[in-house]
C-alpha cells in the first residue's frame, strides 16, 4: 500500500533528447520535502527528480523545465542525499554513467506549482545548447585529463598546503587535549609525551598471542601417562579423520560419475 501511495506523489513525464526522439525515458518528480532543508535545496522552490537518463546534464534539465519559470540551480547526483560535500579528494573520481536523481531549484515559488502542472517537457537539447555525447564527449574527457606539468605542480602544492595547515590545526588540538583539564584529567594522544601503545587490531592480536604463548610454555605436554596415551589416541584419530575425509571425497567423485574409466 505504502509503495503505491508514494508513487502517486510523483508525476511522470516523458523527457526527450531532441524534438524527434521517438522512445523517451520517463522522469518522475515531486516537490522536495524533507524534515531539514539545506541552503542549496530550499523548501517550496525545489523539485526532486528521479530516473534522469545518464546523458542528461544540468543545462539540459534547465532547458526541459524552462517553461515553468526561471531556474536558479540544478544538482545532479547518483543517489538522493542530503549531506553536503564530503572530504576533498586529490584525484577526483571519474563519474560513472548511470541513471541519476536531480534537485532542481526554481527562482520563484510559483514556478514550482507551474512545473507540477506541466503536461509536457521541452527536449533536453535546445537550439542554443546541445548535449555532448559519444565520441565528442570522450575526446573532451581525454583531453581534460592531460595537464601541463606546471598546472599539476600547482595543484599538488595547493593541496599539500591545505593538508599541512589542517594537520597543524589537528596537532594543536591534540596538544590542547594533552593539558590537564579543570578536573585534572589528561587525554592520551598519539603525539604526546605519555607513551602508550597504538590501538590497532594488530597490536591487540599481538598481545593476545603473547599471553597464549606464555600459558603454553608453562604447560607440560608429554609427562603423565594419560598424556602419552592421549597423544597416541590423537594419532589414530587423525588417521581416522583423514580416512573419513577421503571417503567423503570418493563419495563426491562417485556422484559425479567419475569412476567409469571408459
Amino acid at each position: 500500500m505504502k509503495a503505491t501511495k508514494r508513487t502517486h506523489d510523483f508525476k511522470a513525464l516523458a523527457l526527450k533528447l531532441n524534438d524527434d526522439s521517438s522512445c523517451p525515458h520517463y522522469i518522475y518528480f515531486k516537490e522536495h520535502s524533507v524534515r531539514e532543508h539545506t541552503k542549496d535545496k530550499p523548501a517550496g522552490r525545489t523539485i526532486f527528480i528521479v530516473n534522469v537518463p545518464p546523458y542528461a546534464d544540468e543545462k539540459g534539465l534547465t532547458n526541459a523545465f524552462s517553461e515553468a519559470g526561471p531556474i536558479s540551480s540544478v544538482k545532479l547526483c547518483i543517489k538522493p542525499n542530503t549531506m553536503e560535500d564530503d572530504i576533498p579528494k586529490f584525484i577526483s573520481e571519474k563519474q560513472k554513467k548511470s541513471f541519476q536523481v536531480a534537485y532542481l531549484v526554481f527562482e520563484k515559488v510559483s514556478a514550482l506549482d507551474r512545473a507540477l502542472q506541466l503536461s509536457e517537457l521541452k527536449p533536453l537539447n535546445s537550439e542554443s545548447y546541445r548535449i555532448k555525447t559519444g565520441i565528442q564527449k570522450w575526446i573532451e574527457e581525454f583531453n581534460k585529463e592531460i595537464l601541463q606539468p606546471k598546472t599539476l605542480k600547482e595543484n599538488i602544492e595547493a593541496f599539500m598546503k591545505k593538508y599541512d595547515s589542517e594537520t597543524a590545526k589537528e596537532k594543536k588540538k591534540e596538544k590542547k587535549l594533552e593539558q590537564e583539564d579543570d578536573e585534572g584529567w589528561v587525554t592520551v594522544t598519539k603525539g604526546g609525551k605519555i607513551q602508550s601503545f597504538a590501538r590497532t587490531e594488530k597490536v591487540e592480536n599481538k598481545i593476545l598471542e603473547k599471553e597464549e604463548k606464555n600459558k603454553k610454555r608453562k604447560e607440560l605436554k608429554n609427562f603423565y601417562t594419560f598424556q602419552i596415551r592421549e597423544s597416541k589416541m590423537k594419532h589414530i584419530v587423525m588417521l581416522r579423520q583423514k580416512f573419513e575425509e577421503d571417503k567423503k571425497k570418493i563419495a563426491q567423485i562417485k556422484q559425479s560419475r567419475r569412476f567409469k574409466p571408459f
Binding site: 526522439s21 586529490f90 559519444g134 565528442q136 585529463e145 599538488i156 590497532t200
Partner: protein
C-alpha cells in the same frame, strides 16, 4: 577425562557383543548406544582397523588412492549376472559345436569345392590362391574359454570372451609350415566351423576378423543371441596341438617362406633369408596351449596379481597403447618369476613395481625370457638380430612381442616413467590422470603426421624396401610400411623428439558370406596410419643439424642419408662438418622444422610429396601474427613482445640510475600481459603523429571529422603498465588523499628526471607517468603497501581495524600480486616457450566468442593456460601453441570447476601442507571463486586474484570449448582440414540486440581473425618525438558507459580484438513488472494494465540510449 570414559565403555561393549551373539534382546538398548559410539572418532580401534589404517600408508599411496583403486576395480568387474548368463550360453554353445559332423572328403583348396559345399567364403586374401594344399576336416576335441575372461581379469566395457579351439594335429602335414599352407588350411578349418555356426540360432552377427590386424590369421567374431549381446562379444581363435610341428623349424634364423613363391619367380635361390616374422605367425598357434597353461598356473588363484593386471590394462587402454592383454599377463608372470612381485603385495605395489621395472627395462637390447631351460633353444642374440623387441615365451622359441614396434615399446617405457613420476608427486591426486583420464591422440602429441593417400604411400615405400624385408613380413605389408617409415622418422628426427608412436587403424570385420576383397570395397574400408611425435623442446627448434666432421667415414653415410640438403659448413669453433640447415628465423617459424624435415625426407626417400602428407601442429599459428605487419619479423606475437621486453629492460636500468630523487627507485616490475608474452596483439613502435596538438610530452585528441562525416581518430596505441617501488621511508602521510598527492609529486619528479638525465619523452599524470622508449609507451605508477593499508583502515570502537574493500583489493592485485605473478609467468614462458602463444590463442578464442573481460578475466585465462604446463598429467607440457590451445580447451571443458582446485607452484617450492592450506583457503575465499586456480604468489600477498568468470559465462565457455574440441577432432583426425579458423567464428543469433559499430573507429579492426593480412610494409619508426595518443579505446569507453548505466538490465558482450559488434542480452527478469520506489525508479515506464498503473523497464528507450551514448561510434542498433 570424558573421552577416557568413553573408551572403556566401548571396550566393554565390544566384548559383550562378541559373547552374547544370541542374547541380543538383553542388549537392545545398549546396541543403540553402541551405534552412536562407533561413529565417535575416539572409540577404541580394533586390530583390523589399525591394520587397515597402517596398511594404507605403507602398501598404498594414500587412503584416497586405495579407495579409488577399490572403486575402479568394482566398476570394471564383470557383473555376476552376466557371468551366469554367459556360462549358460556357453554350455549350449559347446553342446552345439560338439555335434559338428565329421567330413571325410578331401578338398583341394585351389578349387571352389569346399566353399560351394559349406556356402561360406574362406577368410583369406586373393594372394593365397597360388598356395596349393588339400584339406580334410578332422573333428576337434574341446572348446575352451581362455584369456582374460578365463583368468578373471577381464574389463567390463567392450568385453570380449576368447574361445579357443585346438585343431587336431592330423589336419596338418609336416611341411605345411611353408608358403602359407598352414594359414590356408587354418582358414578353411575356420570357414568350416563358421558354416556350421551360421545355422545356429543362439548366435547373431557372425563375422570374420583378424588377430591384431595380421591379415593371414583370421578369427571368428560373434555375439550370443539374447540380452547377453549387449554385454559381450565372443571371439573364436584356432590354435594347434603342441606336437603338430617341431618348434626348431621356426627358430628366428629359419626360412619358411620362399622367395620363389612370394615374388612368383621360377628360379629357386638356395639362400632364402630368414623369416622370423612369418615364423612367429605360426608359432603363436603352436605355443598357445603351453603359454595359456603358464598364465593359468601363475595368475588364476592370485587375487592381487589379477587386480594388478586389471589396473595395468585400464591404464594401457586409457593411453591407447596397442599392447594386448595377453602381453600384459605375460609381463606380470615374468616379474613374478623373477621375484620382483608376488601375490602378497597389494595391487598398488605390484603395479608400481612393474612400472619401475619396465621403466628401466631394455627389451630392444637386452630381451627377457620366460624360458627356463636354455640349452637347446636359440640364443637371445639370435632374436635380437631378427626382432626389434624381444620377450621370449616359456618354450624358448616364440617371441611374444613379435608384433610390437619399437615406437610402441618406447611409448610404454615413457608412460611407465611418467606413471612413477605421478605416483611420487605428492602434490597431485595421481589416480585420476593415471586411470581415469583418456589420453587422446590430439592432446598427447605435439605433432601428428597423417597420410592422405595410403595406397600411394604403400606402393612407394614397398618399391624401395629390400627383398629380405618383404620376404620376412610376407603378406603383412602394412606392418612393413609402418616399420620402415618409423625407422626413417626416427633417424631423421633424432634427438628432436622424445617419442615417435605409430597409430595404425586396420581393424576390419566382415560377414562370413562375403569374399574379403569385395567386403573391403563395399564398406569403403581404408587402413589408417598416423605417427604421433612428442618433441624435445630443447632440440626441436634447432635449425642446424650438425653431422660428423668431413674427414670421417661417417660423413659419407650422413651425406647419403640427407642427400642434397647436406652441405659442408664451417663453424665458429673451427670445425668443418656436414650439416643440414633448415629455415626459420622467428621462433614461430622454427617450430615448423620437424615438418620441414619430414616433408623433405618423405620426398627424398619415397617420392611422397608434401601435399600428400597432413601435419597436425601449427594450424592456428596465423592467429598469432599481427596482420598489419605481415611479412615483418616483428609480426609474430612473441617477437613483438620481446621488443617490448627489451625496451622495458633498458628503461628499468635508466630508472634505477636516476639521481636527485628524494627516494631511490628500488625496483620496477611489469604488470601488463605483454611482459609474459601473453598479449595477443602486442604494441609495436609506430612513427610519430603528424601535426599533433601537444601539451607538454603528450598528444591531444583532435575534434576532427573525415570526409565521410565520421570522426577521425588516431591509431590505437596500447600502454604497457609497470609499477615502481621506492626505497623505504617513514615519512609518507597517514591520510589517503595526501598520500596520493605526494605520489603525484613523485610522478612529476620522475618524469622531470627522466627527461633531464636520459632525454626521454615523458608526461606525468596524478596517478602515473607515461614514458616513451623506442617508440613504445610505458605507464609507470608508484606502488606502496601503505596505500593499501590506508584504504583498508576503518575505526571501530576506537580500535583501528583493517578490512578488505573492493578498492583495496584491486590495488593489492595491481600493485602486489600482479608484479609477482607476471614475473612468474614470464619465467614459465622461458621454461616452456609455448606458454605465451598458447595463452594468446586461448585469449583470442575466448574473446572471439565475445567472452572478453570482464566476462572471462584475462588473468584467469592466463592461469588456465599456465595450468596446462604446470599440471600436464597425464600428458607432458606441450611445445606447440596450437596443441597447447587444445589442451587448455580440454582443461576448461573437462574440469568440474566447482570442486576442483589447482595450485600453481611456479618454482616448485611449496610443501604438501602449504598446498593443502592454499587449497582450503581458495575454497573458502569469501568472494567465491568460480575457477579455483591459486598461485604460490597468493600465499605471500594474500588471496587477491580475480575470482574468475561469473558462473553463466563459465558454463558457456565450457560448452563452447566442448564443441570446439569435437570440431577439432573431426577436422584434424577424420578429415584433412587445415583451416581451423571457423572455430573462432561466434554465433550472434542468441543475443537480443546488436550494436554495430563503424569498423574504421574500432581499434585493432585490422587484426580480426578473418582479416586479410596487409601486404604494404608499414612506415618504420624513426625516433622518439612525442607520446602519441595512448590508451584511447573508444569501444571500451563506450562499453564502460553502457555497463555502468545499464548493467542492471542487460549484459554486454564484445570481441576485444577488433570486434565491430556489441551483442546485448537482456537480463531474464527485464520484462517483469516492478514496484515503483524513489530509490529504484531507473528506466521504468508507467503502463496502464487493467486500469492500474504499473511499471516496467523501458526497453525501447534504453535501445535509443545506446545510440545516444555512442554517438559517432555506433553505425546501427539492430533488435533481433
Amino acid at each position: 577425562m570424558v573421552k577416557r570414559k568413553n573408551v572403556s565403555i566401548s571396550e566393554d561393549d565390544g566384548e559383550s557383543g562378541l559373547i552374547n551373539e544370541n542374547g541380543k534382546v538383553i542388549f537392545e538398548d545398549k546396541e543403540k548406544k553402541k551405534r552412536i559410539k562407533t561413529k565417535s572418532l575416539y572409540r577404541q580401534p580394533t586390530v583390523n582397523e589399525l591394520n587397515r589404517l597402517q596398511e594404507t600408508e605403507t602398501l598404498f599411496n594414500s587412503n584416497l588412492f586405495r579407495l579409488q583403486v577399490e572403486e575402479i576395480l568394482q566398476e570394471v568387474k564383470v557383473k555376476e549376472k552376466v557371468e551366469k548368463r554367459f556360462l549358460q550360453w556357453f554350455t549350449d554353445f559347446k553342446n552345439h559345436l560338439d555335434s559338428i559332423p565329421t567330413d571325410d572328403t578331401e578338398y583341394d583348396l585351389t578349387e571352389h569345392t569346399l566353399t560351394k559345399k559349406i556356402k561360406v567364403k574362406l577368410p583369406i586374401s586373393e594372394e593365397l590362391k597360388k598356395t596349393k594344399c588339400v584339406f580334410k576336416f578332422h573333428k576337434f576335441e574341446t572348446v575352451d574359454i581362455v584369456g582374460s575372461y578365463a583368468l578373471g581379469c577381464a574389463i567390463n566395457s567392450k568385453l570380449v570372451v576368447d574361445l579357443q579351439i585346438t585343431v587336431p594335429s592330423q589336419t596338418y602335414t609336416k611341411n605345411d609350415s611353408i608358403n602359407y599352407r598352414y594359414h590356408k588350411k587354418r582358414a578353411a578349418y575356420l570357414a568350416y566351423i563358421a558354416s556350421y555356426l551360421s545355422k545356429s540360432d543362439i548366435i547373431v552377427d557372425l563375422n570374420y576378423s583378424f588377430i591384431n590386424g595380421c591379415e593371414t590369421k583370421p578369427i571368428l567374431i560373434l555375439k550370443p543371441a539374447g540380452k547377453l549381446q549387449n554385454h559381450l562379444s565372443v571371439r573364436i581363435n584356432l590354435v594347434c596341438d603342441t606336437d603338430t610341428f617341431k618348434l626348431h623349424r621356426f627358430s628366428p634364423k629359419r626360412n619358411n617362406l620362399r622367395q620363389s613363391w612370394l615374388f612368383s619367380t621360377t628360379e629357386s635361390e638356395e639362400t632364402d633369408s630368414p623369416t622370423p616374422y612369418y615364423n612367429s605367425s605360426i608359432l603363436y598357434d603352436v605355443t598357445a596351449l603351453n603359454n595359456e597353461k603358464l598364465l593359468r598356473d601363475t595368475l588364476l588363484n592370485s587375487e592381487n596379481l589379477k587386480q594388478a593386471v586389471v589396473l595395468l590394462k585400464i591404464w594401457l587402454r586409457q593411453r591407447n597403447i596397442p599392447i594386448s592383454g595377453q602381453i600384459v599377463n605375460n609381463i606380470v608372470v615374468y616379474y613374478v618369476q623373477t621375484k620382483r612381485v608376488n601375490n602378497i603385495m597389494s595391487s598398488y605395489q605390484i603395479v608400481r613395481n612393474i612400472w619401475i621395472a619396465l621403466k628401466t627395462s631394455e627389451w630392444d637390447k637386452k630381451g627377457i625370457s620366460l624360458c627356463k631351460a636354455a640349452d637347446a633353444t636359440p640364443s637371445l642374440e639370435e632374436f635380437h638380430q631378427n626382432f626389434p623387441i624381444v620377450f621370449i615365451d616359456s618354450t624358448g622359441y616364440y617371441n611374444i612381442c613379435w608384433q610390437i614396434c619399437k615406437g610402441t615399446y618406447y611409448a610404454l617405457k615413457r608412460e611407465c616413467a611418467l606413471a612413477v613420476e605421478m605416483l611420487d608427486n605428492v602434490k597431485i591426486n595421481s589416480f585420476i590422470p593415471l586411470f581415469m583420464t583418456p589420453v587422446k591422440m590430439l592432446m598427447k602429441f605435439d605433432h601428428i603426421l597423417r597420410f592422405k593417400n595410403m595406397e600411394l604411400l604403400k606402393t612407394s615405400v614397398l618399391d624401395k624396401v629390400s627383398k629380405d624385408d618383404k620376404l620376412n613380413y610376407g603378406l603383412d605389408r602394412l606392418m612393413l610400411v609402418t616399420d620402415t617409415v618409423y625407422s626413417l622418422l626416427a633417424k631423421g628426427l633424432g634427438d628432436r623428439v622424445h617419442l615417435i608412436l605409430q597409430m595404425v587403424e586396420a581393424d576390419f570385420t566382415w560377414p562370413v558370406k562375403k569374399v574379403l576383397s569385395a567386403a573391403k570395397t563395399d564398406s569403403c574400408y581404408e587402413e589408417k596410419l598416423a605417427f604421433g611425435l612428442i618433441l624435445n623442446k630443447d632440440n626441436a627448434l634447432n635449425p642446424v643439424e650438425k653431422g660428423p666432421p668431413a674427414n670421417l667415414p661417417e660423413a659419407l653415410e650422413f651425406r647419403a642419408f640427407w642427400g642434397d640438403k647436406s652441405e659442408l659448413r664451417r663453424f665458429q669453433d673451427g670445425s668443418i662438418t656436414e650439416t643440414c640447415v633448415w629455415e626459420g628465423e622467428a621462433t614461430a617459424e622454427r617450430r615448423g622444422i620437424t615438418k620441414q624435415i619430414i616433408n623433405y625426407l618423405m620426398d627424398l626417400k619415397y617420392g611422397v610429396k608434401g601435399s600428400d602428407l597432413f601435419h597436425v601442429m601449427d594450424q592456428l599459428d596465423s592467429v598469432l601474427v599481427r596482420k598489419q605487419y605481415a611479412g615483418e619479423s616483428s609480426a609474430h606475437c612473441e617477437e613483438a613482445c620481446l621488443d617490448v621486453l627489451r625496451a622495458f629492460d633498458e628503461l628499468r636500468r635508466d630508472l634505477r640510475q636516476l639521481t636527485e630523487l628524494p627516494l631511490d627507485i628500488s625496483a620496477v616490475y611489469g604488470t601488463s600481459s605483454v611482459f609474459s608474452y601473453s598479449r595477443p596483439v602486442p604494441p609495436v613502435a609506430r612513427p610519430a603523429p603528424r601535426q599533433p596538438y601537444r601539451r607538454a610530452g603528450a598528444c591531444l585528441l583532435k575534434q576532427a571529422s573525415r570526409r565521410d562525416g565520421l570522426p577521425s581518430l588516431p591509431h590505437y596505441t596500447p600502454v604497457s603498465r609497470a609499477v615502481i617501488e621506492l626505497g623505504h621511508s617513514g615519512k609518507w602521510p597517514g591520510d589517503i588523499e595526501a598520500f596520493r598527492c605526494l605520489k603525484a609529486a613523485f610522478h612529476l619528479q620522475i618524469s622531470d628526471r627522466l627527461t633531464e638525465q636520459y632525454s626521454l619523452i615523458t608526461h606525468a599524470y596524478p596517478s602515473h607517468v607515461d614514458v616513451l622508449k623506442n617508440g613504445l609507451v610505458f605507464r609507470l605508477a608508484i606502488a606502496h603497501p601503505k596505500e593499501i593499508t590506508l584504504l583498508k583502515r576503518e575505526i571501530e570502537n576506537g580500535v583501528v581495524k583493517h578490512k578488505d574493500s573492493e578498492e583495496s583489493a584491486r590495488l593489492q592485485r595491481d600493485t602486489q600480486l600482479m608484479p609477482r605473478l607476471r614475473g612468474a609467468l614470464h619465467g614459465l614462458h622461458q621454461k616452456y616457450p609455448a606458454f605465451g602463444p598458447t595463452a594468446c590463442l586461448f585469449k583470442r578464442w575466448l574473446s572471439s566468442h565475445l567472452l572478453s573481460p570482464p566476462h572471462f578475466p584475462s588473468v584467469t585465462a592466463e592461469l588456465m593456460a599456465a595450468t596446462v604446463f604446470l599440471h600436464p598429467q597425464p600428458f607432458t607440457p606441450p611445445t606447440q601453441p596450437t596443441i597447447g590451445l587444445f589442451r587448455v580447451l580440454r582443461l576448461l571443458a573437462a574440469t568440474d570447476w566447482t570442486s576442483e582446485v589447482f595450485v600453481l607452484d611456479f618454482n616448485d617450492d611449496l610443501t604438501r601442507e602449504q598446498i593443502t592450506e592454499l587449497e582450503q583457503a581458495a575454497r573458502a575465499d569469501p568472494r567465491g571463486r568460480s575457477v579455483c586456480i591459486v598461485t604460490a604468489q597468493e600465499r605471500e600477498v594474500g588471496l587477491a586474484c580475480e575470482p574468475g568468470p561469473p558462473p553463466p559465462a563459465l558454463r558457456r565457455a565450457q560448452a563452447l570449448a566442448a564443441s570446439a574440441l569435437a570440431y577439432l577432432e573431426n577436422s584434424l583426425l577424420n578429415e584433412f582440414n587445415d583451416n581451423l579458423l571457423p572455430m573462432f567464428v561466434p554465433s550472434l543469433s542468441e543475443y537480443d540486440v546488436q550494436i554495430v559499430l563503424h569498423p574504421s573507429l574500432v581499434p585493432e579492426w585490422a587484426e580480426r581473425v578473418c582479416a586479410p593480412p596487409r601486404r604494404r610494409p608499414p612506415t618504420p619508426h624513426v625516433g622518439d618525438e612525442l607520446i602519441p595518443v595512448v590508451d584511447f579505446h573508444p569501444v571500451l569507453t563506450y562499453l564502460d558507459d553502457l555497463r555502468s548505466a545499464y548493467g542492471d538490465f542487460a549484459v554486454f558482450f564484445h570481441d576485444l580484438y577488433g570486434g565491430e559488434v556489441i551483442a546485448v542480452l537482456w537480463k531474464p527478469d527485464v520484462d517483469e513488472y516492478e514496484d515503483f520506489q524513489a530509490l529504484n525508479a531507473n528506466a521504468l515506464i508507467p503502463e496502464t494494465v487493467d486500469g492500474e498503473t504499473r511499471y516496467k523497464v523501458n526497453k525501447e528507450a534504453i535501445i535509443e540510449d545506446f545510440r545516444i551514448l555512442g554517438q559517432g561510434l555506433v553505425k546501427s542498433v539492430n533488435v533481433l
